[in-house]
Amino acid sequence: MHSRLSNAMDKILARRALQVCAAAAMLAVLAACSSSGGAPTTVNQQTTTVTTQQYTGPPAQNADIQAFQVNLWQNIIPSNRCGGCHHQGGQSPMFARSDDVNQAYQAALPLVSLTDPSQSTLVLKVGGGHNCWVADPSACAATMLVWIQNWLGAGASSTTSVVLTAPPVQAAGGGKQFPADPTVGNPSYQASVYPLLTKFCSGCHNPSSASPQQPYFADPNNIDAAYVAAQPKIDLAQPNQSRFYERLANEFHHCWPTASSNGAPDCPGSAAAMLAQITAFANGIPITPIDPTLVVSNAVSLTQGTIAAGGARFEGSLIATYMFETGQGSTAYDTSGVTPEADLTLSGNVSWVGGWGLMFGMGSAAQASTSASAKLANMIQESGEYSIEAWAAPADVAQTAAWIVSYSGSNTTRNMTLGQAADQYEGFTRSGVTNTGGTPPLVTTTTNGAAQAALQHVVLTYDPVNGQKLYVNGVFTGDMDPSKGGSLANWDSTFALVLGNETSGQRQWQGVIKMVAIYNTALNQAQITQNFNAGVGQKYYLLFGVSTLSGVNQSYIMFTASQYDNYSYLFYNPTFISLDPNATIPANLAVAGMRIGVNGLLAPGGQSFATLNATLGGSSYSAANGQQLSRLGTVIPVSLGAANDLFFLSFDQFGSNSHTFVDPPGIPTPPVPDNTPVPDYGIATYERINNTLARLTGVPITDQVVQTLYMNSQQAMPATPLISAFVSSAQTAISGLANGYCGEMMASSSLRDAFFGTGLDASLTAGASGFFGASGSPQRAIVINGLSNAIGSTAQPQMASAVAAEVDALITRVPQINSAATVTQATVAACTASLASAAVTLQ
């Protein structure tokens, strides 16, 4: 079966068009129609700056040749492009001859694939480096593709189809498997990585920590549990992709001091030490075949997938576009095909991301020259309209005054800007009704929270009637431009196009931009929806062969996949399909528990299809579209990189084949006793104090005076019984409340008598000095005994005794401070000092 498929490959017999204009859910992804009813690709406008010879040969004989002439031919005939060799009398084929466009057309036809323009010889040649006119062949290929698509789209109607191509038959390879026992190996996990983790990470990643943080890979008391938790953080195939290493090397997460760092955290040193241990551990593990008990599909790499070419973007009126396919270097090419190319020069902390894109960090920008940027002003001023379209992922939703795309001259002068302000997007367009900085801007409402720290499709349009409009993920935000109706006549053509910043470098935007396109028309809702639905980045259809499992000829589980960012792949829309249009699906063919594997190992996380449970065939399956198994998608971590990662699928069940997946075990981690002595006492908290004072004095908590005091001061009193959390302000608040209770108690004869007896009643306003006399007097005993009893002379006699001595001293002290002090004042002072003391508040 496989060999037949392989032969078929060679003879291109195993190809079958998957008509993407058919109505089906998956067509939203596959759709690539360029005719009416789907995704028309319209002709780019010619820029006035394109430089070509005046054509004096025979006119184009029909509309298609005319389209060829306008869209492709006049772009390739310059001598620095194809016309330098493939001109008349030059190297064959002479598709770039400038003397007769009709003959050039005939020569070009064999070089163009009508069904899949991306596979056209012209595209493949320049993409392979053949006489590319810029430094990056991928930019030439993209530009050539645009020209060809424009030609085809502008000519006769055509329906683009995706041709699924069977990948080479290959088995899922082996890989390094974690030894079952952490103490086994040379070196073992116990002797390599584990000591570093327990030494430096157990402060948090340890269930016995004061601030435990999963995963508990640094549990010093349970190596088995720690080993299970550590495995997802270690990449045995690529140690420097291990999370343990990355956290230290790139994210500076809790680095530790090393011998050479004089006590300071040393991230490079920490990372190196970690990498050395992981590498040693990984090197000691041999590559073993894939687990033979798994039920697996054939394997396929990303680039062995069928390219989901083109999409169905609206690209009419495009005047600059950046797909960021180059992936390296310091230039991001404008592949709109509209000259002059406004290529961007990357500066500062900007880096390429996998799956096409640029990541902008602090101090970064990508800027075009002012001369090349001038085409924007020229062409937009001609039409009076424009659109900026971007696929962008903000790093966060806190950044403000952050320009994603700007065509401007300074912080205060601009032609147009698409920016982010926290969770809002904003648009600035200089016009006759704004200042030179384009203010007042259009800002999305905060309630919508338009900006998210996720990949978003953002479009800013401008036309004189509506002014600016913002669309996020294909949806108009509904926000109205405060300054519509202006003319763009005052635009300045000396400004520069810049991404991720302002030309001044003072409007930094951080995040990832995966595509930017600029148009000189205001895209309408349908066009924006179309481009949003087309998505961004290169997508592939990955065909995982399952014929031996299903018994169905040339059958596959087809995923749509792409590189999602530098660190993961996106897999979505799994579909069962046979490339044999006559294949029959057996009844009750069950598929369950599908997991994605990479390089011989199941991905440690992101297994969104592990719960899949489907029955194949029947009315759910059609020969044209197969059978969608799930509308879900997931992200799978990159291991060796897009060029080398080999994916496979495993199944808990596929037909009669089954495998029991074993989840990682739940290993109990009983708390480790900490016998460090802790305080045996605590402080009464706020409401306990309030109720305690109420009980001791007899004053109800609803008493107006104390209730007001309590409500005003309760939050200043202890909220927790921890003695270590007790502060002086809490004592002050307690004293204030005790003072209130004592005052209210003294003011009530019944409560006063209940507390002190009647001995004070006749002398409340008498002088304290004279009334209380010297220590040991019976008058003093009235107060001292009352307070000692309240403290609890029975329950805590020592405390009561201490209070008695202190109260006695206080009664002596008060008249010394103020000779006019009354009995009431001195008693309240003594009461307050006692009831607010630790004798009462300590529990």
């Binding site: 435990p212 990832v512 802790v678 109720n691 003072n739 029975t794 401070i817």
Partner: protein, 409 residues
């Protein structure tokens, strides 16, 4: 300084002096911990009831400790002894145990900032009532139960405001004697299928069903009733199929954040939070909204963050933590681990071993003023947990046992 001139009213003593005086007392060397029956009784009472005992209560407790009137110089009882347990029942019979201790104990569970400084609400009142009436606490997250006060002068309980409870607190109403057991369906008119114990009280709904995505209800239930916040529960190995569309898979362009962090919580949380798919709290109307059969829009927001994420169709939930590392949470073997709605999820959570351990740990810490970390305390908590789960989930008994376990020595 004339200290008497700063007084603000009759009998007010100046604070500066008072503070100095009290600090003097605080600075005085404290006597070593007492072990006598008086001290044990006073401590147990204060730890449970929050205030000092009356003389009569003290005597009642010391008699229990000594098995009759204590002889002079009698030693206290050993921690956990029957005498101490009996003495503790005196303290749990005090109204301030309900009005103060239990209120402060449960109030932080009812708001996002975990503050105790919040008005009394139906959540707290229901906890207090359940403890008073010895209602099995493992029904706390599922039962159709609600406690209101029958004190005079209070506004009627309402699903649309908290006035009934706030006024009760303001009036100093004794909750122990006035709380009356009722139902949420009867008092609030909540549909029976929508009731899930404390989860669907107005107090919880107003704090955790308001705005957002309803994940807060799950997270705070974990914090308050499982004694675990999400960082200690995360498990990156669970299938990610039920993670909703609003969770970005590449936040800021870095999918490592999702694969190493976000997925750890959301893969387990989102399938369970689905139980709350029909709930919302309408801040304008001031009451919980329940829309049977209709998923709340909050479950479907930000769908373009990851279009291939899960789209919530109903309120069916699954406990994915029944497999993998979180099996150690001790799920009940008698339950299926899946269902529809908050009530069955509440049963699932409250039937776990971790729920029971958490309740006991919380009570132990509240009574003993320390987390159970020593080997002795851990053994004590384990023992109390066993009797809690086997003895009808009586939380009042846990207070008594905890107080008896740390009476001072």
């Amino acid at each position: 300084m004339n200290v008497m001139t700063t007084g603000t009213g009759p009998g007010r003593a100046p604070r500066a002096t008072l503070t100095a005086c009290t600090l003097l007392l605080l600075a005085q060397p404290l006597a070593p911990a007492f072990a006598g029956p008086n001290e044990q009784a006073k401590r147990m009472y204060e730890r449970i009831a929050g205030i000092p005992p009356s003389a009569a209560e003290l005597t009642q407790m010391t008699n229990a400790i000594c098995g009759g009137p204590c002889a002079a110089g009698a030693a206290g009882a050993a921690p956990g002894s029957a005498g101490l347990l009996q003495a503790a029942t005196v303290a749990t019979g005090a109204s301030s145990f309900y009005n103060v201790t239990l209120k402060n104990f449960s109030m932080p569970w009812t708001n996002r900032s975990a503050t105790v400084f919040a008005p009394l609400n139906d959540y707290v009142a229901t906890v207090i009532g359940m403890v008073r009436d010895n209602v099995a606490f493992n029904t706390a997250l599922s039962a159709d139960i609600l406690y209101t006060s029958n004190a005079s002068g209070l506004p009627a309980p309402s699903a649309a405001n908290n006035n009934h409870y706030a006024t009760a607190e303001q009036n100093g109403v004794d909750l122990m004697s006035t709380l009356v057991k009722g139902t949420q369906s009867g008092t609030y008119g909540t549909p029976g299928a929508a009731v899930a114990g404390l989860i669907t009280t107005r107090g919880a709904a107003s704090a955790f069903f308001i705005n957002g995505t309803n994940r807060a209800m799950f997270r705070f239930t974990m914090i308050n009733q499982f004694c675990n916040d999400m960082p200690t529960l995360m498990d990156t190995t669970r299938p990610s199929d039920r993670i909703r569309q609003d969770v970005a898979r590449s936040p800021g362009g870095d999918s490592r954040i999702f694969l190493n962090n976000c997925v750890g919580c959301h893969s387990g949380m989102d399938p369970m939070v689905q139980a709350f798919a029909y709930y919302n709290f309408d801040a304008t109307a001031g009451q919980m909204v329940y829309t049977p059969g209709q998923v709340q829009p909050k479950y479907l927001i930000n769908a373009t963050n990851f279009p291939f994420g899960f789209v919530t169709p109903d309120d069916s939930w699954q406990n994915r933590w029944r497999a993998g590392p979180n099996t150690v949470l001790g799920w009940s073997g008698g339950l299926p681990g899946s269902g529809n709605g908050a009530q069955s999820l509440g049963q699932e959570l409250a039937s776990s071993a971790t729920f029971a351990q958490c309740q006991v740990s919380k009570v132990f810490q509240a009574v003993c003023f320390r987390a159970p970390v020593s080997s002795t305390d851990l053994a004590t908590v384990s023992s109390i947990t066993s009797s809690f789960t086997s003895g009808g989930y009586n939380l009042k008994q846990v207070f008594q046992q905890s107080a008896a376990a740390c009476p001072g020595s």
